[in-house]
């Protein structure tokens, strides 16, 4: 992924009525890199072959890009409808684990954030009953699960890895999250951010992964924790999570704001 980001701040609709969401926003806006949707979209509408073959080009980029964005939102709804939380992603034997497992981010491996696990505290906010911060050992006191699943990148490649940690659904219940809320958002130490639908958050294979291959997650794979969802594409699986918030309005993401489909699930 070699997309550079623009400078202009994006505008998006927010519902200020809810103080809960405002809190989530405050938390996020501290760190969200300003992104230019316009730059992506002007780049996104290069009509290569279509222009060549038809002898014309679509001049009205804004109209076409708005239509494509609207269809992508429609596809989010279709995918939410199609998502069956009882369907499990295939699991594999340890012998099929991809070694070395590929590093993939919007920065190079040496730029992966280094976080002190001893002092780390996970923030929890939004529509939750208990907003106490979580040290890592408390997350390890929840029931732990291990699974070997296929990580599928939006680019098309895939790799099999082994992740371990508590079920994210158990964590959400432990903090008294409103499980009827629509979204769960994530803010990460590498300035990444994303959000997922509640149905996927509660999927039995969705882990708040603390381990990779039986060891604590190395920095390159997202220490101190990564949300591992075998039912979502790679870019929906945030690493280096610092804050988790439950909301009904926040459905953005680092790549999603640039045009990747928000649902991004398989």
């Amino acid at each position: 992924m070699k997309i550079s980001l623009g400078k202009a701040a994006s505008s998006w609709h927010q519902d200020n009525a809810s103080t809960v969401t405002a809190e989530a926003h405050r938390l996020l806006l501290k760190r969200i890199p300003a992104i230019s949707r316009r730059q992506f979209l002007s780049r996104g509408l290069t009509l290569g072959s279509l222009g060549l073959l038809s002898g014309c080009s679509i001049d009205d980029n804004a109209t076409a890009e708005a239509a494509l964005a609207r269809i992508s939102r429609f596809n989010d709804r279709v995918q939410g409808w199609l998502f069956d939380s009882s369907r499990l992603a295939p699991t594999y034997p340890d012998s099929m684990i991809t070694r070395p497992f590929p590093f993939n981010a919007f920065y190079s491996e040496d730029k992966a954030p280094r976080i002190n696990g001893e002092t780390f505290l996970l923030e929890v906010s939004g529509l939750v009953a208990d907003k106490h911060r979580w040290p890592l050992h408390r997350l390890r006191s929840l029931p732990q699960y291990t699974q070997v699943t296929r990580h599928i990148c939006v680019e098309g490649w895939s790799a099999i890895g082994k992740w371990g940690g508590p079920r994210f659904g158990d964590f959400l219940r432990a903090v008294g999250a409103d499980l009827s809320a629509r979204y769960v958002g994530f803010q990460c130490a590498d300035d990444y951010y994303t959000s997922i639908d509640m149905a996927t958050a509660l999927h039995p294979q969705t882990l708040l992964a603390l381990d990779w291959d039986g060891q604590p997650l190395p920095a390159k794979y997202g220490f101190p924790m990564k949300l591992r969802m075998p039912t979502k594409l790679g870019y929906k699986n945030p690493k280096h999570i610092q804050a988790i918030f439950v909301s009904n309005t926040f459905n953005r993401g680092y790549w999603e704001d640039q045009g990747y489909n928000w649902f991004g699930g398989s």
Binding site: M1, I3, F40, L41, R43, G44, L45, T46, L47, G48, S49, L50, L52, L53, A67, L68, A69, I71, S72, N75, Q79, L82, F83, D84, R87, L88, A89, P90, R150, I152, C153, V154, E155, G156, W157, S158, P230, T231, W255, Q258, G259, Y260, N261, G265, S266
Partner: protein, 216 residues
């Protein structure tokens, strides 16, 4: 149609309106799907080559994905309309069958020796029938393999039938290659028999048919 034709053949509808509409919508859908698909392929090539960015659609991976997942609706809905109308009107059976190995071989030989008649465009020769049936099957395979690549968890049966996610991805690529090959041959044939383009545009051939005509 109340227009008086100079002969029973002249001005007669050779391709019904719904067939022409679904044909051209499919052409647009296939163009969008193939060119955006090439861009998506380039993000992580399966083979040792990439497609020249200039002939791809979308500008970058995210844009190509938006086109691909918008184009799929046109491709699938229009394809379903085509298939259902073809079956409901009996056109599929009437025009595409019978197809026999003997007939295909005979018409291939006639084509290679430049003796295959294209005088009556209502009649598909057996090579043509086989090619159309195969490309329809190929389009169905593209949809099915695309569903597995898109939703490998939600379609477990289909995923296992196609040999898993990675195999489905390859099948999706080969299906594309087969369809592009069809389109190339199809376009060459249109250039060799330009009247066929008129029938697909207006539904009629402007030339008088050499062959015998029967009432509809």
């Amino acid at each position: 149609m109340s227009r008086t034709a100079p002969s029973p053949a002249y001005g007669k509808t050779l391709q019904p309106w719904w067939l022409r509409i679904t044909h051209w919508l499919n052409a647009v859908a296939v163009l969008v799907m193939v060119t955006s698909g090439w861009r998506i392929y380039n993000a992580s090539p399966i083979f040792d080559f990439t497609f020249p960015p200039g002939i791809t659609l979308g500008g970058w991976l995210g844009g190509a994905l938006q086109w691909h997942f918008a184009g799929m609706w046109l491709f699938v809905l229009n394809g379903l309309a085509y298939l259902l109308l073809n079956l409901a009107t009996g056109r599929l059976v009437r025009k595409m069958f019978p197809v026999t190995a003997r007939g295909v071989l005979r018409d291939t030989w006639l084509a290679l020796t430049a003796r295959l008649s294209h005088a009556d465009l209502r009649h598909y020769n057996q090579v043509q029938r086989l090619a159309y049936l195969l490309v329809i099957a190929d389009l169905v395979l593209l949809v099915l393999s695309g569903l597995v690549v898109w939703k490998s968890v939600q379609f477990p049966l289909l995923r296992e039938l196609l040999g898993g996610y990675d195999m489905a991805r390859r099948i999706h690529f080969y299906g594309m290659a087969a369809m592009v090959a069809f389109v190339i041959v199809h376009l060459i044939m249109v250039m060799l028999v330009p009247r066929s383009l008129l029938t697909m545009l207006s539904g009629r051939s402007t030339l008088r048919h050499a062959g015998q005509e029967t009432a509809p």
